[in-house]
């Protein structure tokens, strides 16, 4: 059935000209050499005062990058990207010197405030001083530690001290290279190898900043951790690298947000995120992706080519990815779980909205290697305008993964007759002792509930809307509070009339 009017109105709210984050910050910046070369890589490495092994690691990645080709299997199209016509390093001048929030220039603090992230106030109001705080107060005012990444550098990380008391390491990856080289050496590239794919290889060669989290054995991270990525400078790409390690029995919830100014050019964002969960550990990773999507004619916008992967190494470990994707001109992103430990679990919840001329090819990979591993994939896609959206997912069950279970459901909705919605689920099964289900129908989801709702006097469309919205809220509830509000505004879209 076609989408109802209310839905269409809601989607219109998301159209390009309503983009609130399209401003630029006037601040003196310094750039690395233009183009991709050994010189650029040496420049970045030197800027960050990196040890030699990391420089060699980068150079090796660059050698591999020169040999591999850009992938072409995704359902996206764009003019060829000129990798020589971009800056790989841009940073506010003197950025490396900020010792504390007090030294961060006002322009930057204002920028984050404008984006809804008052770095300084957050720390002062709720932070270190608030020792008398009761547990009830803590619940009322949930605190979030923020790592703010501005173009190529992390400008501030809040609540660092307090986290330290709990034993949690939360800092930019550049700092971690200096302060915890043993952890970086052990885990960097252990989930997404240097030459995993074209964009990951590029990232390995030129990554600039990102967040590093280590939660030690048995620790439940006392607050939400968050990184806010902002591209500001013209003609730059952002190549961040995030590494999160949850040691045995640890728990952490991490959220990521991103925006960029409105520009006519296409900007490249090629990030790598690696998660490692050891025995009994749990990582919750949420993203609200709202990069500048380009204007309604498809001019400008961020190319978001991201590799995100979690390694559930330990027994009973669990990783859950939740994403709300509304931005970017092109998205190419498949947050994945390698379920290596016995009884480990992977989850993927996604809501993606494309509009204008956006293109998104996104989904997940669940690789079942251990016994009794479980995975659950729920994906909702909404295409409007002249956009194209593809769900592409892989569920692979290896011969030794006895007792593995997967449930996948992906629904998509088209609004208007100029857009496209596509579903490409790959399933590979090598053991008879696994149960894999893939579904893509709305009615199957809720026959009984639908019947019940209709018994209560709702017409079919209202009943479906009610149920699917209720379900959507379930996905949104997976998001930490701070983002749930923003995400709800983005996805106040009912999903009735979904097609497989």
């Amino acid at each position: 059935m076609p989408a109802v009017k209310e839905t269409i109105e809601d989607v219109r709210q998301l159209e390009a000209d309503k983009y609130k984050y399209g401003f630029t910050t006037e601040i003196e910046q310094e750039y690395g050499p233009k183009g991709l070369s050994e010189e650029t890589i040496r420049f970045i490495s030197e800027k960050k005062g990196e040890p030699d092994w990391l420089l060699q690691w980068r150079l090796e990645a660059y050698e591999r990058f020169k040999q591999i080709e850009e992938p072409d299997w995704a359902k996206i199209s764009h003019p060829p990207i000129d990798y020589q016509d971009a800056y790989y390093y841009a940073a506010p001048k003197d950025a490396a010197k900020y010792k504390s929030l007090d030294e961060v220039p006002q322009e930057l603090l204002d920028t984050y405030k404008k984006l809804g992230i008052p770095l300084k106030e957050a720390e002062v109001l709720l932070g270190v001083e608030g020792a008398a705080e009761t547990a009830a107060e803590a619940r009322d005012k949930p605190r979030v530690a923020v790592d703010a990444v501005f173009d190529s550098v992390s400008v501030a990380t809040t609540f660092k001290e307090e986290l330290k008391k709990a034993g949690v390491i939360f800092m930019s990856i550049s700092e971690a290279v200096q302060e915890h080289p043993e952890l970086i050496k052990k885990y960097l590239g252990s989930v997404v190898p240097v030459s995993d794919n074209f964009f990951a290889t590029l990232n390995s060669a030129v990554f600039t900043d990102g967040s590093f989290v280590y939660v030690p054995k048995g620790v439940r991270c006392p607050m939400e951790l968050s990184t806010y990525f902002r591209i500001n400078a013209e003609g730059t790409g952002q190549f961040e690298r995030t590494l999160i390690i949850a040691d045995e029995g640890a728990y952490v919830s991490y959220l990521e947000g991103c925006t960029a100014p409105m520009r006519d050019e296409n900007q490249l964002h090629a990030a790598v995120v690696e998660l490692v969960a050891l025995d009994d550990a749990e990582i919750k990773y949420s993203t609200v992706q709202n990069w500048w999507p380009g204007d309604k004619d498809g001019k400008g916008g961020v190319y978001n080519f991201v590799t995100k992967r979690a390694d559930c190494r330990g027994r009973n470990s669990k990783v859950s990815w939740t994403q709300v994707e509304t931005g970017s001109a092109i998205t190419w992103k498949y947050p994945s779980c390698i379920l290596k430990g016995d009884n480990s679990q992977g989850e993927f919840y996604s809501i993606a909205v494309t509009n204008g001329r956006q293109q998104a090819d996104t989904g997940t990979k669940m690789i079942h290697l251990g016994k009794n591993t479980k995975s659950r994939v729920i994906s909702k896609g909404i295409s409007a305008g002249r956009s194209d959206q593809t769900y592409r997912g892989l569920v692979s069950v290896h011969a030794k993964a006895e007792g593995a279970r997967n449930f996948t459901q992906c629904d998509s909705l088209l609004i208007g007759d100029q857009c496209g919605a596509h579903t490409v689920p790959y399933v590979e099964a090598k053991t008879p002792k696994a149960t894999l289900e893939h579904e893509a129908t709305t009615s199957k989801l809720s026959d009984d509930q639908l019947f019940y709702a209709r018994q209560r006097g709702l017409d079919e469309e209202t009943a479906v809307a009610l149920l699917v919205n209720g379900f959507c809220r379930d996905v949104l509830q997976e998001l930490p509070m701070e983002f749930a509000v923003e995400a709800q505004a983005l996805v106040k879209v009912s999903l009735e009339g979904s097609v497989g």
Binding site: K430, T435, L436, H438
Partner: protein, 363 residues
């Protein structure tokens, strides 16, 4: 940028037989399809054939009657396998089916051979096309079948693919459905060293109906790839697909189904289901049920589920005094029979069910 591929002796022998031209250039540059080609991900034709004898042979065709014409192909196909079939398989045998006719086409591969046939069902005609495929040891048969079903015509197509443990087979069929045309296709496949049954369907007119079903049983060392691409270009079309397969140790089943709905194809109703049964450890099933949709007022759904035999059902049957082997066989048979039972043609349906039961007994 692409590094030139190394051609095997087998590929070189095919290249030697080809005249100069675009097809030869393409083969020299890319070779035969292999697992790095997205559409052939789970069917590595290049590698399997590189171990086959590079010996020229032919595809023998036993038809129940003479063709109406033998002619050059009017339009060259676009994909490499049917292009090779058209280039190396000699002229195309053309059949125009009469109302009530049953045409039998039995293809037998010997060494490396190619063949192309074309079948037309004229407007308003109701007919049956029955194909069977088998091959001798070390044979590779590459066959292209073009079928045109005109306005309001009805075709029942049955494909039987015999177990061919030592040979390879690629059949590429193109079906074009006119307005209000209807096609019911049923496949029963037992696999080969490598077998691919690829079907492309175009709903070109309004209100065409396609029911495409298949069952497969694969024993040790047998592979079968059923790939389909159904394109809805006209409005109010219907597609209903059901594929079910059972794979024993050492067998590999591949299902790739795509439904493509163009902007003009409003009110399309398309359903695709694939169910796989892995009978033992060491069996493998790979599937990719794909939807590509550009129209906003359609009903499209797909489902895909894999698992083992329901232990509760097995337990219940054993309680009733059946031994485990018979209980398993019965459950497997009833699982696989569903796509075949959808056939309207009673005689063909019973024949296929019998062949299915026989095959399960010898597995």
């Amino acid at each position: 940028m692409t590094a030139p591929v190394r051609l095997s002796d087998f590929e070189n022998a095919i290249a030697d037989a080809l005249p100069e031209g675009a097809l030869l250039d393409e083969l020299m540059a890319k070779g035969l399809p292999h697992r790095r080609v997205e559409a052939w991900k789970w069917t590595d034709l290049k590698t399997v054939l590189s171990r086959f004898p590079a010996e020229a042979g032919e595809v023998i065709l036993h038809a129940s009657r003479e063709p109406d014409a033998v002619a050059k192909l009017e339009r060259e196909p676009s994909m490499i396998m049917p292009r090779l079939a058209a280039a190396l398989g000699g002229d195309c045998a053309v059949y125009e089916l009469a109302d009530g006719e049953t045409l039998n086409l039995d293809f037998i591969g010997s060494a490396t051979g190619h063949r192309i046939v074309s079948v037309t069902v004229p407007a308003g005609v109701e007919a049956v096309l029955h194909e069977s495929y088998q091959g001798g040891k070390g044979s590779f048969a590459n066959i292209a079948v073009n079928i045109t079903v005109a306005e309001g015509a009805k075709l029942t197509r049955v494909i039987e693919q015999n177990a061919m443990p030592n040979s390879a087979l690629v059949v590429t069929s193109g079906l074009s459905l006119g307005p209000e045309a209807s096609v019911e296709q049923t496949t029963l496949g037992f696999g080969a060293k490598l077998a691919r049954l690829e079907t492309h369907v175009l709903h070109s007119g309004e209100g065409a109906k396609l029911s495409m079903n298949g069952a497969y049983v694969l024993g040790e060392g047998l592979h079968l790839d059923q790939t389909s691409n159904v394109r809805h270009a006209g409005p109010n079309g219907e597609t209903d697909e059901l594929f079910k397969g059972a794979v024993a140790k050492g067998g590999r089943g591949v299902f790739q189904g795509k439904i493509h709905v163009e902007r003009a194809a409003q009110k399309t109703d398309a359903q695709m289901q694939h169910r796989g049964l892995l009978m033992d450890a060491g069996a493998e099933i790979d599937a990719k049920p794909e939807l590509e949709i550009y129209a906003d007022d359609v009903i499209c759904a797909h489902g895909n589920a894999f698992g083992a035999i329901d232990e509760d059902a097995l337990f219940y049957m054993r309680q009733r005094g059946l031994d485990e082997a018979s209980a398993r066989a019965m459950l497997t048979c009833s699982f696989l029979a569903e796509p075949i039972e959808k056939m309207n043609h009673e005689g063909l349906r019973e024949a296929l069910l019998e062949r299915l039961t026989d095959r399960l007994e010898t597995l």
